[in-house]
């Protein structure tokens, strides 16, 4: 599944200061759908190069990290359970950096 992932608000520092990543992510074996829950795990192991605890806490994003799926607050579309679709645009923004 092709996705565009964007990191902002300082999170890009965790992935070598690259803000926009164009990626292909496969659903877990035996499943035909990719949920946000799985995407987070994928991002953590494939894109985050340092301090992964700044990105995730438990099985979700660290509180204070905002997530938008196609410019819509993920809290409106099911948070971790949101199923991703082809060409979705997912944005992660940290609110924890600077003021």
């Amino acid at each position: 599944m092709h996705l565009t992932l964007e990191f902002g608000g300082g999170l890009e520092l965790l992935c070598q200061s690259t803000k926009i990543h164009s990626v292909d992510v496969k659903p877990k074996p035996g499943e035909d759908k990719l949920a946000m829950r799985d995407l987070l795990v994928w991002v953590k192991s494939n894109l985050i190069k340092e301090r992964p605890e700044m990105f995730m806490k438990g099985d979700s994003v660290r509180p204070g990290v905002l997530v938008l799926i196609n410019d819509c607050d993920w809290e409106l579309c099911g948070s971790l359970d949101t199923e991703l679709e082809e060409k979705d645009n997912v944005v992660f923004i940290s609110t924890l950096h600077g003021g």
């Binding site: 300082g10 660290r62 509180p63 204070g64 809290e75 924890l96 950096h97 600077g98 003021g99």
Partner: protein, 362 residues
């Protein structure tokens, strides 16, 4: 309400509608009210709420010259944008300008100042930059070279607070507005409880402080959630700078901040509840506020003979950078109690609090 296990619904199929206009697709869930709201309605409710805070608290008078503390970060960028917008829309009649402090940190502040300079043009607000070098004769780079990375945040914090006041005075400002948001204030309430600082606890929720001083400071974002500020900046594509300070890269990793964020996830209104607690604390009337005098060297407001900045500077200039740091007693005829109070961020360590840097003492 604690978050329920919302089940995933085909989102694009239904496309939840904005609870305000009932026409457009909702774009975010407001932490304050849990409403789902579209972008346009969000912009107007966000701005209206800040306008109401400004009006309800009589923050400004027409004709005042107001400095907007601008660091290039998210809060101050949105503050500058919204202030200029509201001033125009509601005819506040304010003479607004951006005030930035250049600490002299290569690779950090010079980059963020570029952001502020772009804001100057975009929002049509004049910019004044005051530098540590001009005010104190030292840049942070030079200070760190002298003292190392141990107490650098103390210097930076003390110098910045004064720098903004001095810059505002230099520019003949009547007021200074800062971008402290509801999350910041809630965190400060908690930190003051953790430190037993009752004097600050009673003051930290004031929307305006220093009214008896030369330049009162106020916080129009007192009730504004950090989440909404960041969402606003994102949707409006406001240009802000979010790199961490190179001298204190982990300064934002505080227990208290993390706790607030965990709390917000569990019960978003908790942030406002903490502020309400802070406003309603029955602080004893006998609580002594430190007496305010002026520094005999620079004239800055100070409860001691020398203000903290002058004391630190004296140490730097005499090659005794430890002067005024730590729990030294009796030196310089200074009251140790005040010394300790000023240094508390150092002493309690970075582990409980966030943002010693880049934020203003209040």
């Amino acid at each position: 309400m604690e978050e329920g296990g919302a089940t995933a619904k085909p989102r694009r199929a239904t496309g939840r509608l904005c609870s305000t206009c009932n026409q457009r697709k909702a774009a975010l869930k407001r932490p304050k009210t849990l409403e789902q709201i579209c972008r346009e309605c969000f912009y107007s409710v966000f701005e209206d709420e800040i306008h109401n805070v400004i009006m309800d608290n009589n923050l400004f008078k027409p004709g005042e010259r107001v400095a907007v503390a601008a660091s290039g970060g998210k809060d101050s960028t949105v503050l500058a944008y919204v202030m200029s917008e509201l001033n125009r829309r509601h005819n506040y009649g304010l003479d607004l300008f951006l005030l930035s402090v250049d600490e002299g940190i290569t690779g950090y502040r010079d980059d963020s100042l570029e952001t502020v300079k772009r804001n100057e043009i975009e929002y049509g607000l004049p910019l004044k930059v005051v530098s540590y070098k001009d005010l104190y004769g030292w840049t942070m780079d030079e200070i760190v070279k002298t003292i190392g990375l141990k107490n650098n945040c103390t210097f930076c914090g003390v110098f910045r607070r004064q720098a903004l006041d001095r810059g505002a005075a230099l520019m003949k400002a009547d007021k200074l507005v800062t971008g402290h948001n509801a999350d910041d204030i809630a965190e400060t309430v908690l930190l003051n409880i953790l430190r037993g600082d009752i004097a600050r606890l009673s003051r930290c929720t004031f929307i305006t402080t220093g009214e008896d001083g030369p330049i009162p400071r106020c916080k129009p974002f007192k009730y504004t959630y950090e989440k909404e500020i960041v969402m606003y900046a994102y949707f409006k594509k406001l240009d802000y700078f979010s790199t961490e300070c190179i001298y204190s890269p982990n300064a934002y990793r505080g227990f208290a901040r993390e706790f607030i964020k965990d709390l917000e996830r569990m019960r978003p209104r908790a942030i406002l509840d903490i502020i309400r607690s802070g406003e309603n604390f029955r602080t004893a009337t006998s609580t002594k506020m430190p007496e305010q005098g002026t520094c005999e060297r620079c004239g800055y407001i100070s409860s001691q003979k020398l203000c903290k900045a002058c004391l630190l500077l004296e140490g730097l200039n005499r090659g005794l950078p430890k002067l005024g740091i730590g729990r030294a007693r009796g030196t310089n005829g200074l009251n140790k109690r005040v010394e300790q109070r000023n240094l508390r961020p150092e002493r309690t360590g970075s582990s409980i609090e966030s943002k010693q840097c880049g934020t203003l003492d209040f």
